[in-house]
């Protein structure tokens, strides 16, 4: 677009005062800019930067939340994060969770998106039904699956009894981890939405050309569709990984008896990283160690985000917007 700069239409007097006027106008417009973004800027400083800084500070101390001073312990909390068997165990559970949930979600949602993208009867209804779990809050998702996997009345065990398998205690032992995976996979719908939007960005001419060249559906998908949507797939992979790494609510709410103290009855197998962080803070009052765990987690997220920026650039953030599709 070639619109004239605002100043250009003005009558040209001597250049000097105009530049001065321009400068003061620049200052005024800069002030206005900062005025407009100040709610966010101040809010981010106060509610994001400051708390993160506070956590970083706490991570170097052995504070228990009770004393008025915070005993400085240097890097020993960080050492504990990477060496203590507790954190290593919770971290490995979280990584296993990611290893299962991330690929399944990405591939599953892409597969379903391709199917839902076809012109078939009842597509809108099917899309709606498959999306619905994605809008169900994690709290409700956990409670719903808790009912389904409940030992006595849940349909999971009813189905097993049809197969002559004795009822299983899903929510207390190792199997609770399976239930946790199911809860996380249930929300596949939001991935489908992203993928459906991504599929619209695939150039129709190229698909047409591939067809002309005699490529089958699978081949066209591999050589045209997949390369076109791969930035969005990578972006999604990072998003799902970040989300899965911070799994917390379903892990704590699946435990069978949610009394006053929810956190103590979590089965060992669902003691994922964020649950561990919570326990360090609120069960053991180890604010320092908990903070160190948070900081490590935060650093990992930042690193992943930075990598995304480096490899995909900002455009991927635009590309996933269906109303903007075609731009990315």
């Amino acid at each position: 677009m070639s619109t004239l700069p605002v100043g250009a239409a003005r009558p040209r007097t001597s250049p000097a005062p105009r530049r001065r006027g321009g400068r003061s106008r620049g200052i005024r417009s800069a002030l206005a800019f900062y005025g407009f973004i100040s709610p966010w800027l101040i809010g981010t400083l106060l509610l994001t930067v400051f708390p993160v800084g506070y956590a970083v500070y706490m991570s170097f101390t052995d504070w228990n939340g009770m004393t008025s001073f915070m005993p400085w312990v240097g890097l020993s909390n960080y050492q504990e994060v990477f060496t203590s068997s507790d954190t290593i165990s919770s971290l490995s559970k979280t990584l296993i969770l990611c290893a299962v949930v991330v690929p399944t979600t990405i591939i599953g949602s892409l597969f379903l998106a391709v199917l839902l993208n076809k012109k078939i009867r009842g597509r809108t209804v099917l899309r709606t039904l498959i999306y619905i779990p994605a809008v169900v809050p994690p709290v409700a998702a956990a409670l719903i699956w808790k009912v389904v996997f409940n030992k006595d009345s849940g349909s999971a065990n009813r189905i097993l009894s049809l197969l002559h398998i004795r009822p299983v205690d899903w929510l207390t032992g190792q199997l609770a981890f399976v239930v946790l995976i199911v809860v996380l996979l249930w929300g596949v719908g939001s991935g489908i939405i992203i993928n459906l939007a991504a599929l619209q960005t695939v150039p129709a001419e190229q698909l047409e050309a591939a067809k002309m060249d005699g490529a089958g559906a699978l081949k066209a998908f591999r050589h045209v569709t997949l390369p076109a949507i791969s930035p969005i797939l990578l972006f999604q992979t990072v998003l799902v990984t970040i989300t899965t790494l911070q799994t917390f609510v379903p892990a704590i709410l699946l435990s069978p008896d949610t009394g006053v103290n929810v956190y103590t009855s979590i089965p060992q197998s669902n003691d994922v990283y964020m649950v561990d962080v919570y326990e360090q803070y609120f069960d053991y009052s180890r604010y320092g160690l908990g903070s160190a765990m948070l900081v490590v987690f935060f650093a990992v997220i930042l690193l992943m985000t930075a990598l995304i920026f480096k490899f995909l650039g900002r455009s991927v953030f635009y590309a996933v917007d269906p109303s903007e599709s075609g731009r990315g």
Partner: protein, 304 residues
């Protein structure tokens, strides 16, 4: 039902059945193949949709099962006990909790919608040093998991005795939501420059231009932003669990921890009823405002 309008029509309709020769017209075989393939697609999708929907059916059945039959080995209870629902409402202060949820969600929703619009406008239509950098910061904060800031924020607030009320939500709302700001920025960037120029000639200030011209134009986005924000607070468990107490906490906390008997055992039929009532408004809101949701989801990726 707006879902299909958002993303269909042009482009990537699934690659059609293969045609061997480039110059051949669609062979009759291919034409016969298509409905068959679609039937397979339809079958797969129906199975997936059933698997995904079944937990809701189970929830409804459990919610209506009499307590005496909850452990019985049967698919359906001998009778649907509708008074379970009123029991579920009375067992916990359901209405009060729901009121808290609505108040808190609406409070946060209104604040964050307008605050995000203001900031989005600033990023879209104004100039200032460091704007590029700050916008980069904004996008980075989109990726910061809330739980990272939540616990230290709670510790800070409780240190100064600021917990147990809705103040944190007021502050979070006033600060705007990075993702929503991003949406507004995209929207306002796309509007023609003449909108401001005419108003500036009329002598209108920036604030008046924003309030009288840009804000009304962004009405569809206002709805999206509000729906997303409302839903986020309605569905949030961790923040109210940390910051609020039993008098002013939300339904999310009440439903997930309230349905136990004296011995601490979960009352599954009441829990199912409570969860059902808790989730119905969310699903209804989704069905009414699908387009807003879809837009939000497609952008924000996979939240919670």
């Amino acid at each position: 039902m707006a879902l299909h309008e958002v993303h269909t029509e042009h482009g990537a309709d699934a690659p059609a059945p293969s045609e061997r020769r480039p110059d051949s017209r669609p062979a009759p075989v291919a034409r016969r193949l298509r409905p068959q393939r679609n039937r397979l697609t339809l079958t797969v999708l129906i199975i997936v949709a059933l698997l995904i929907t079944l937990p809701f059916v189970q929830l409804l059945i459990s919610a209506l099962t009499p307590a005496s039959e909850i452990t019985a080995d049967q698919w359906l209870p001998s009778e649907f006990r509708w008074s379970n629902i009123t029991d579920a409402i009375n067992y916990i202060p359901f209405l009060n909790l729901a009121k808290n949820s609505v108040v808190l969600s609406a409070l946060f929703g209104v604040l964050t919608t307008f605050s995000s619009a203001i900031t989005g406008y600033g990023f879209a239509r104004m100039r200032g040093p460091g704007k590029k950098l700050l916008f980069g910061v904004l996008i980075m904060t989109m990726m910061v998991p809330p739980i990272v800031t939540l616990i230290p924020t709670y510790l800070l607030f409780s240190r100064y005795g600021l917990v147990g009320n809705y103040l944190p939500w007021v502050l979070w709302g006033a600060a705007g939501t990075p993702y929503t700001i991003f949406l507004y920025r995209q929207f306002f960037s796309g509007l023609p420059k003449e909108l401001e120029e005419a108003a500036i000639i009329d002598g209108a200030g920036r604030i008046r231009i924003f309030v009288q011209i840009f804000l009304p134009l962004s009405r569809p986005l206002l709805v999206t932003a509000f729906v997303l924000a409302f839903n986020a607070v309605w569905g949030d468990f961790v923040a109210p669990d940390l910051f609020l107490n039993s008098n002013n906490t939300t339904l999310a906390v009440g439903v997930s921890s309230g349905y136990t008997n004296q011995a601490g055992y979960t009352l599954y039929n009441l829990l199912a009823g409570g969860a059902l009532l808790y989730v119905i408004p969310v699903v209804l809101l989704f069905l009414c405002a699908q387009r807003s949701y879809v837009r939000g989801f497609a952008n924000s990726g996979l939240k919670g």
